[in-house]
């Protein structure tokens, strides 16, 4: 460990970490929006299940580096390429968790909601979704931690946040940068995970014992 390098590059490390967070947040955010739509389709009509899980499963199985390599000739060395790849990997995880969450709502509760006069939209927004929060948060945790790891690989196309820092360290045999990149990434993953757990708890006050 070269401590001098660390102290003289705090700014660069912080920039890389910020890039990393932005790349992750964009991917999980866009991935969540798409997955949410997919999940609603599946929840509405089971026939959507096979095609959607087929496509998202295929995307999930294709190795990240291969997907980046396939996209680069088309969309170039760009943020767009990185995000298409990153979003692809969140879809399977998030869709499955959201559907599982919506499916897990007990029938009696849904029937009670219908009896109280909720229409389809109101039931979804005010009954089904709140009850699905624990599973949705579980999905977001897996997707976020996975994405934080995958962002690294986008260093190959000039993005990558901390992955870029590590790749440069690797190329110039500056191992301190490699270790710092790895440690900060794990730190980010832990902080993100704890943050999501806390957010999930705050969003579901009824699950806490009184």
């Amino acid at each position: 460990m070269n401590w001098n390098w660390i102290s003289s590059n705090v700014g660069a490390i912080a920039d890389a970490a910020l890039d990393h967070v932005v790349l992750t947040a964009l991917a999980v955010g866009i991935g969540f929006a798409i997955s949410f739509l997919f999940a609603l389709l599946i929840h509405h009509d089971r026939r959507f299940y096979s095609p959607i899980s087929g496509i998202t499963g295929l995307l999930y199985t294709i190795p990240s580096l291969a997907l980046l390599a396939l996209l680069t000739p088309i969309t170039g060395l760009s943020l767009l390429t990185a995000e298409i790849a990153l979003v692809s990997y969140t879809l399977l995880i998030l869709t499955r968790h959201i559907v599982a969450g919506l499916d897990g709502v007990p029938r009696e509760i849904d029937e009670a909601a219908v009896g109280m006069g909720y229409d389809v939209g109101g039931r979804l927004m005010r009954v089904d979704l709140p009850l699905a929060i624990p599973l949705i948060v579980a999905g977001l945790r897996v997707a976020t931690v996975t994405t934080i790891g995958l962002v690294m690989v986008t260093a190959f196309i000039g993005e990558g946040g901390l992955g870029q820092l590590m790749l440069r360290g690797f190329n110039f045999r500056n191992y301190t940068a490699v270790y710092v990149g790895a440690i900060v990434t794990v730190g980010l993953a832990i902080v993100a995970d704890l943050g999501l757990i806390t957010a999930g708890r705050l969003a579901t006050p009824w699950t806490r014992p009184r």
């Binding site: 291969a66 390599a69 990997y89 968790h97 579980a138």
Partner: protein, 238 residues
């Protein structure tokens, strides 16, 4: 699409099919590295998972290992191992091995734990020893979950073995990493297609294996579940 024309030309060029840098050898390296890692990873993680699942002791350890494993990205692992072990398969192998252990360990432990306790008690009542219980009751019942864990690990290893090229390993990643370096789109896309096909083939062969080795009785139980209820994803992918 000009691009796929280029990739097609790359695939049909005989020069890409011979020698150390040819497609067959790179494919062989990729499969060999992945298979070795999965075999060793299973040998290490399976017994530990079975022991934890059967005795119900050390579950906290298993969960912790799985979580740490998820937070440590394969890319970081490769580069870190490189700083200790240098260029080539020597650093790729341990990095990949670390990846295989969490999914296999957790799925084995979860699979065995989920086996109906009444079945185990019935076996015990029939005079089975602990080892027999594990071998003839718990493992067959838990097999779908265990194989799913190995499948997740295998797909992940095939994906990550691509990154081994970064630390100077061979394998199919060579085409991609060099394709990026040389700005050669034909070999970039060609390599990507090969890796993607290999990952899909790996996934497919484990699905077929599942059908073959899982006891029909257990499969029957599995099939009775509504097919469209998706399982939450346990582990990360590539």
């Amino acid at each position: 699409m000009e691009l796929f024309g280029e990739a097609f030309a790359w695939f049909t060029d005989p020069a890409n099919w011979s020698g150390v840098t040819g497609i067959p050898n790179r494919m062989f390296e990729h499969v060999w590295l992945s298979a070795l890692t999965i075999a060793v990873g299973t040998l290490v993680a399976l017994p530990i998972g079975l022991a934890i699942g059967h005795t119900r002791r050390g579950a906290f350890l298993a969960v912790s290992i799985a979580n740490v494993g998820r937070a440590l990205p394969s890319y970081s692992l490769l580069l870190i191992f490189f700083t200790f072990l240098g260029i080539g398969f020597a650093s790729a192998f341990p990095a990949l091995l670390v990846l295989t252990i969490p999914p296999i360990l957790t799925s084995t432990y979860v699979g065995v734990t989920e086996v109906d306790r009444d079945m185990v008690e019935a076996g015990r009542g029939m005079g089975m020893t602990e080892v027999e219980l594990l071998r003839r009751v718990e493992v067959p019942m838990a097999l779908p979950v265990i194989i799913a864990g190995v499948r997740i690990a295998a797909v992940q290893v095939v994906a990550t073995a691509t990154l081994a090229a970064l630390v100077g390993g061979g394998a199919l990643g060579r085409f991609i990493v060099d394709g990026f370096g040389l700005q050669r789109h034909d070999q970039l896309v060609g390599g990507a297609i090969l890796v993607a096909l290999l990952a899909l083939a790996t996934e497919r062969s484990f699905t077929l294996l599942e059908r073959r080795v899982i006891s029909p009785g257990v499969r029957g139980v599995v099939d009775k579940e509504p097919a469209a209820t998706p399982r939450p994803v346990l582990e990360m992918g590539a």
